[in-house]
């Protein structure tokens, strides 16, 4: 999707005239999106090894604070971004979905690392969920095992571009009377129940490949 910049509908010549007198012109949407993308507060939610790289990103060498995202909140009620870093197991999935439901809109999800995208190296395990995008919608996928801190910053910049291109009238979370809640899966005798959420995820259809 193309990233929209803070464009205003005003003529360029008039803009530069006004700037000389100290008046800056922009659209309401541009200002609103600029405020939102420059202060994304992540939820402190590290599951496994990728969490250590996330903490390293927040430390002195790779400093995520210069992007405005340095304030990790412990409570989901105060966070806008959930960085799912690490393997999501079937035992942990109901808690992840519950946490996602508790975050207020607008909210975003970055899946960091191969394990939360699709199960990763542990894909054949009996307790491993093959990707958290079976239950909640994901905005940015970030491959790597673990992704370097620079890769996490790149993912954050991509998310910022996505936020820039969102428009207030068309976004569903800004409509009246919206109540969006994703169903929480339950523990079954040999797996989770339901195995995936049909509104969010469709499994790949396996095709038989014949030769000749």
């Amino acid at each position: 999707m193309s990233a929209a910049k803070n464009i205003s509908q005003v003529d360029e010549g008039l803009k530069s005239e006004l700037q000389k007198s100290g008046i800056f012109v922009t659209t309401l949407e541009g200002l609103y999106n600029w405020g939102r993308r420059s202060s994304i507060w992540p939820l402190q939610f590290g599951l496994a090894c990728c969490a250590i790289e996330m903490i390293a990103t927040a430390c002195a060498r790779y400093d995520i604070d210069r992007f405005g995202a340095g304030l990790f909140r412990p409570s989901p009620r105060q966070a806008d971004l959930m960085i799912v870093s690490g393997t999501v197991t079937k035992k942990m999935t109901p808690q992840v979905v519950r946490l996602y439901n508790q975050m207020p809109e607008p909210k975003y999800v970055i899946t960091m690392g191969a394990c939360s995208i699709s199960g990763g190296p542990f894909k054949d395990g009996y307790n491993v969920l093959k990707g958290i995008d079976r239950y909640i919608p994901v905005d940015v996928h970030l491959p790597g095992c673990p992704p370097r801190p620079e890769a996490l910053l790149h993912g954050l910049m991509k998310l910022q571009e996505k936020i820039d291109s969102q428009q207030i009238e068309k976004m569903e979370w800004y409509q009246k009377g919206l109540k969006r809640e994703f169903p929480v899966p339950e523990f079954g005798p040999n797996g989770l129940n339901p195995p995936y959420n049909p509104d969010v995820f469709q499994p790949q259809q396996h095709r038989e490949i014949t030769v000749g």
């Binding site: 079937k90 054949d124 009996y126 307790n127 523990f187 079954g188 005798p189 040999n190 797996g191």
Partner: protein
């Protein structure tokens, strides 16, 4: 440290009538006498095996086995490997948690993943999988729910 052969002879003299076998360097002890032999190994001063390092449950297809590795912290000796066998359906093995406290979580794990029941354990319930899970995953005949591809394929 005494060799496993000498330990075997000592146990056979102290508990007459037990049938021990020696496989490699590990002792195979029948499960009925395991509790008393464990107390003997811990309390006699010339052995003083006071540190139970590891408890593992293994599924050989005809029988289930529990493998213990014992060390002595006081004398800085070890290891002594002990194997206790039981059958597959009604697998009951006496628990050594009253003797060595470190067996508490490890026996719960062997129960959860392999399905061996330990009699005398203070709190035997699942530790790694959730409570409603109905199978024992580390057995060789366990089939996963909803696999993308059969596991032996690669």
């Amino acid at each position: 440290m005494k060799t496993p052969t000498e330990i075997k002879q000592d146990i056979e003299t102290k508990f007459p009538g037990t049938q021990l076998t020696l496989e490699g360097s590990s002792l195979v002890i029948p499960k009925e006498q395991w509790s008393e032999i464990a107390k003997f190994l811990k309390n006699t001063p010339e052995y003083s095996f006071d540190f139970l390092s590891s408890v593992t449950g293994v599924d050989y297809k005809e029988y289930l086995e529990v493998v213990y590795h014992l060390y002595s912290m006081e004398k800085k000796e070890g290891p002594l490997t002990i194997k206790v066998r039981t059958d597959c359906e009604q697998s009951l093995v006496p628990s050594v948690t009253p003797i060595w406290r470190s067996a508490e979580f490890q026996e719960r794990e062997a129960y959860d993943l392999v399905g061996i029941h330990f009699t005398g354990h203070p709190d035997l319930r699942r530790i790694l999988m959730w409570e409603g899970f109905q199978h024992h995953p580390l057995r060789k005949d366990y089939v996963q729910d909803e696999q993308d591809r059969p596991v032996e394929q690669f």
